[in-house]
């Protein structure tokens, strides 16, 4: 049977749902990452499919289980948001045929299916549950958490992978046509750069609260610093360059007031986790990190781009859902790893959380304080997409590693890592996970 996209009933979209019924009964144990690259070099062994297999195998090994113990697979089938296979470019069939292919030649090249992965991972002999999460690892994590809690799987791999091709991001695929059906034409075909909507919200934010773009600099330098301590990340692996306040402030505008570094760098990578029940996790190789809650935002803006008012209302609502289902308050958070790939909505996320008591309009002032991993108020210790490239995965890997005490040079030292939250992507439309070092 073909793998299905997770039904809406698996997500916790609403307030008033109470404590998550599986709170503390699901755990992340294993982490696996592929290498990173700026773009695909056309070789089979560096294809998004090959790197996905590598990441999955590393997650299995990291957890210390045998492949035949795995009975579930939740993946995100889409592997790009802006590097679509050019319609006039032949698919390299020698690469396609070097794997156990499916009926779609782009499987493993510019997209993924559970069928393709299972065809090429013969050691996964007992997978009887597969499901797709939409868009992001954040989404797939919610699906896997709920699936394990509901008893649909007990040892589940979760995967998100990214390919990147030659050419400019967001310029290929449907965007290369003269026409696109529906409102997408207004945004993707004739509209401004992808960061435009966030830039517009940020401009209004600065006007409303009397802030400036330069006030983002400490957040940017801190995020890159953290990323350079993330050995799995792109910048650490390929371009170990700091990002100074001067670098940031002089960068060219992409959609003013969003500049070059307010946009993440598209890369190739695959990240995978092994999730299981709290009981089974006790016998595995790594320290379990328990899931206290998952929450989602499925809000739709009234128009093409959400207004600042809509953003603030929704991030506040998301914060309430996160805390309600986990049975915690903002004061319980050791750190936050909310999404940053556009940088200018990170402050919306953390203001919605009320992280360290900050209110709307206060995050940029908060950035001027000690937000480092050594301080009492760590902001994005993963470094996010700014620190390691466009993946939407680092935030989760870091949360798990921090709570397991194996974040290496990136390990937070100013706080005891006990409870964390990660997720995204957008203020309107995202998925979030609350992680804990203990099940209760």
């Amino acid at each position: 049977m073909a793998t299905q996209l997770a039904p809406e009933s698996m997500y916790r979209n609403d307030e008033g749902m109470g404590i998550w019924e599986h709170r503390g009964k699901v755990a992340a144990v294993g982490v696996g990452h592929s290498p990173t690259a700026r773009r695909w070099d056309g070789k089979a062994e560096t294809s998004v499919g090959a790197w996905s297999i590598l990441a999955l195998r590393r997650a299995i090994e990291d957890a210390g289980v045998s492949p035949d113990q795995v009975d579930g697979l939740v993946i995100v089938p889409v592997t790009t948001t802006g590097a679509f296979w050019p319609e006039d470019t032949p698919v390299p069939m020698d690469i396609v045929n070097s794997f156990n292919r499916t009926g779609d030649p782009l499987d493993g090249i510019a997209q993924l299916s559970s069928e393709w992965l299972l065809n090429n991972m013969p050691e996964l002999t007992n997978v009887n549950f597969t499901m797709y999460g939409a868009g992001c690892m954040s989404n797939a994590l919610n699906v896997a958490s709920q699936a394990i809690g509901d008893g649909l799987t007990h040892t589940c791999l979760v995967l998100k992978a990214w390919h990147n091709l030659e050419g400019r991001y967001y310029q290929s695929g449907a965007n290369a046509h003269d026409a696109i059906p529906g409102t997408a034409a207004l945004k993707s075909l004739w509209g401004a750069p992808a960061c435009y909507g966030t830039a517009l919200q940020f401009a209004e934010y600065c006007r409303k609260y009397g802030k400036t773009h330069d006030m983002m600099a400490p957040f940017m330098t801190n995020s890159r610093r953290n990323g350079l301590m993330f050995p799995e990340g792109y910048w650490a692996q390929h371009r170990p360059e700091e990002l100074t306040a001067e670098d940031y402030e002089y960068a060219r505008w992409i959609a003013k007031p969003a500049n070059l570094f307010d946009n993440d760098i598209p890369i190739m990578m695959a990240g995978a986790y092994l999730f299981t029940t709290a009981e089974r996790a006790q016998d595995m190789k790594q320290k379990p990190v328990y899931i206290l809650n998952h929450a989602s935002s499925n809000a739709m803006p009234r128009s093409l781009t959400p207004t600042l008012d809509e953003v603030e209302a929704e991030t506040a609502k998301t914060g309430r859902k996160i805390y309600e289902g986990a049975g915690i308050t903002a004061a319980d958070l050791s750190f936050e790893n909310m999404y940053d790939g556009f940088t200018e909505f990170h402050q919306f996320h953390i203001e919605g959380l009320g992280y360290r008591g900050i209110k709307f309009g206060e995050a940029l002032d908060f950035y001027q304080t000690d937000i480092s991993i050594e301080g009492p108020n760590p902001v994005s210790p993963s470094g996010g997409n700014i620190g390691s490239g466009r993946s939407r995965v680092w935030l989760h890997t870091d949360s798990i590693q921090q709570l397991q005490g194996r974040a290496g040079a990136r390990q937070v030292t100013g706080v005891k890592p006990e409870i964390a939250v990660s997720g995204g992507p957008m203020p309107l439309g995202g998925n979030y996970t609350v992680w804990s070092a203990t099940p209760d």
Binding site: R239, T244, D247, A251, W253, F261
Partner: protein, 98 residues
């Protein structure tokens, strides 16, 4: 870098103009032990022309939409890498070094 080294000390003002952070540009020059006169973000090339007086201004780049566009807007002459390599100051030095 080898091309740049060939003209160091011959009256050329040398620098880089890139989307790479200025700190990273400086680090690259310093890692190669090449003295440089400026580093600048891509869109600020005009500032170089304003700051330094020279007979001619060239920008070597590999992007039509970004390098060439900004270079011409800033009043620089634009050279693709292969065109730059064929310029006489490189060719003459190359043959004399051979």
């Amino acid at each position: 870098m080898d091309m740049v080294r060939m003209v160091v000390g011959d009256g050329f003002l040398i620098g880089s103009c890139s989307d790479r952070p200025m700190s990273a540009q400086r680090a690259i020059w310093e890692a190669h032990d090449i003295p440089y006169d400026f580093v600048i973000p891509k869109h600020m090339l005009a500032d170089v022309k304003a700051k330094f007086e020279a007979d001619r201004y060239f920008h070597v780049g590999d992007r039509e939409d970004l390098d060439k566009k900004y270079a011409l807007e800033a009043g620089f002459e634009f050279l693709w890498p292969d065109e730059a390599a064929a310029m006489p100051w490189f060719a003459t030095k190359d043959s004399s070094d051979a």
